[in-house]
């Protein structure tokens, strides 16, 4: 039984006069991994950032159309902070805060009012465990997070998102700044996480999309050129442009 987690309807997005997204319609199903692929500059990041309203930070952005999360409009019905708690985000470049590993993970729960030491300890431990980072850092929880390797930092960022108990995790090219070994660890992690979370992931890497996603959306020039099951997109694309892109003819 597949329920819609996120439903986007006739979304247009403008950076000032420049229209970056054209008439986007997409439905993202619960506990699936949806991959967004496409050549760079086609609006993948712009799109994924609208899902938790990160584009609000940019003054010149104007949006029309609707985005519903859990059947409620994210602009009109959801409280911004609640929405961002539910729809977490992992960025392209690992961005741990300049504080200890522990404080990084506890940051979210603390800002949402959890003070009990015991609870925080549990949350930190569980989140690190879920992000399969616990074994590597359990002896240095109070050391600066910026001392971790890039791959560890990215898993820390994932753990940090998990600590606020989200429902959907958005990832914008989470492995593009990492080496192959770290990348494969994160892919394994995503595989693990999709049992409990709905995941939307932007990726530049076709193989990655093929390996980890259930659905794939192909973006081109700010439009969704094609959206469907990953197998179908990869092996049986409808659009010739999709086929050209998949087979590496441009991008």
């Amino acid at each position: 039984m597949e329920t819609n987690k996120i439903a986007v309807n006739k979304l247009n997005l403008f950076y000032g006069d420049f229209q970056a997204l054209h008439d986007i319609n997409i439905e993202i199903k619960e506990k699936e991994v949806t991959a967004l692929i496409g050549p760079s500059g086609c609006g993948k990041s712009t799109f994924i950032r609208t899902l938790n309203r990160m584009n609000d930070l940019i003054d010149i952005v104007k949006i029309d159309g609707t985005i519903q999360y859990d059947a409620m409009d994210i602009y009109k019905q959801w409280d911004l902070i609640e929405l961002r708690k539910k729809v977490g985000m992992v960025f392209q470049k690992p961005n741990p805060f300049p504080m200890s590993i522990y404080d990084n993970i506890a940051y979210g729960p603390r800002t949402h009012g959890i003070k009990s030491r015991q609870k925080l300890n549990n949350i930190v431990e569980n989140s690190l465990d879920q992000a399969s980072l616990l074994d590597e850092v359990k002896d240095r929880l109070h050391k600066p997070a910026l001392g971790l390797s890039g791959g560890q930092q990215q898993r820390l960022c994932i753990a940090r998102v998990l600590a606020v108990e989200p429902d959907v995790v958005l990832m914008d090219e989470p492995t593009s700044a990492l080496d192959p070994i770290s990348t494969s660890r994160i892919e394994d992690l995503i595989d693990e996480l999709k049992k409990s979370y709905t995941i939307v992931i932007v990726t530049h890497n076709m193989q990655q999309a093929g390996r980890i996603s259930d659905k794939t959306a192909f973006f081109l020039h700010g439009k969704i050129e094609e959206f469907g099951g990953t197998d179908q997109i990869f092996f049986n694309p409808v659009s010739s442009k999709t086929e050209a892109y998949i087979s590496g003819k441009f991008g």
Partner: protein, 554 residues
Amino acid sequence: MTGIDVLKNRRSNTVQSSPQSRKINRQEIIAKGIICFFTAFTIAILVWIVGYLMVKGFRYNNDVSYDVTTQIEREIPLDNTDEDVVFIINSKVRSEDIPVAGLRKLYNKARKENWGFYNQQNLKVVPFAYEGAGSFSDDVMNFILTGSDLETYRKNVSQTSSWEDMIHRVGQTPGALGFIPASKAEGLPKSVKVLSVRRISLIVSPSVLRIQDGRMMREISQADADKLFSGKVVNWKEIGGIDLPVTLVFWDSKDASSIINRDEPVLAKIQIVHSEEDFYSSIVNTNGAVALGHYSSIESEGLSFIPVLRHETGWNLTWHFIFESPARSGQWGGVSYIILNTFFLILFTIIFSTPVGIMAAIYLVEYTNQGRLMRILRMGTETLAGIPSIVFGLFGFIFFVQICGLGIGFISSTLTITLMVLPTIIRSSEEALKSVPQSFREGSLALGASKLQTIIKVVLPAASPGILTGIILAIGRTVGETAVLIYTLGSNYDLVTGPSSSARVLSLHLYMLFSEALSFDRTFATGAILVILVLITNLSTTWIVKGVNKNASV
């Protein structure tokens, strides 16, 4: 390939190089030389400046003119008694010896007398005398009293019942001064020490002090005086005087023997007299005559004398200077209050300026978009930062002191300096906030933190090294500020006790010591403290910033 091979290769490359590249190489070397030269030059100048300030600040090195020579007497013979007298003082008094005129003043003008006149130590003089009459104490009294009022003397001194009592009480009373017979001066307790007396003057015939060809013997260094009495000086012009032959006058052959029996030949003329009257008349009447005589005879006989320069050197910047409170406009005592006032000024300036400055910077960076308002504000802060501080001082005087009626005092000056350093703090905080990566903010916001939470918990900590640097820059400006304070802080050298107390801080104290010519040595000592303070501030910036960075990263 080893390192040496690499070097060889490189060398052979240059050998084969084209004229063009050789020319470039030569230019490179010349440019490097010029840069090195100027760097070394700058560093040398800096080291010289700081070194000079430090040396002058730490040690004094002066020639001081006295009516008496440097010769000191521990035990002083009295006219009518066999026993010598020894003057004793409390050990806390930082004097070892004193000209006899000073000693007399200490006894006779005790109410107003202060050791500060002799050693810059702000300590009242408490003179003691022996109450038992007798030829010895009468004799000492005569020695002390020459020409003074017996009544005032009686009123001023405290009487002691025995010599033991005298020693005990002098040891107990700070600033105490007393006397004992020389026979009792063995094995004095630690709390008491002997004050030697200098009472020998260089008596000359008035002819020596004449003006000739615009030259005149004003004073003489101790070294020249020694040379004079070793008989090596034939003419006064050899030691800076006029063209006049020297005649050394001695009271009797016993005095003269000290030089006559030496191996070296005596070149100067020598005259030996056998009575007091002959002594004085021969000094007065012989052109170019000079003799060593008691200072008291100068007064009683109306003789001429040459002041002697004593070379005095020692520590300028002592713990006493740092920990004692100032007195007599800073001529005596130390600068403890002044240092404390400086810290108070810094503390309150930072308390007032930091929150306002940081909040303004947060508003500018986090809450406004870079529009015209921003540009105007930026121009405003930059202009403010460039305004000469004396103009701020004028503004502070007109606005805080007069219009707000706060009066000259601590609060007016703190507010004025706050206004002055605010642009610095705003600018540096702004830069620090801008340098915090946007990804920190996004990361925090994406976790559902509000903007305020993000700023307080992520942005500010990440910006703190930069903000701290700004604060310390502001401290540096506050420490060095004088112009503003002249108009708003006044010149009282007491400790700040309330918002309206007038006070001095180090820079202002330095300015006043210098401009009122109170003490050159103290000006430099204060300057050295300022330099050290600035040095500590700068080093602490480095340490703090390093510490904060260590917490933040690896």
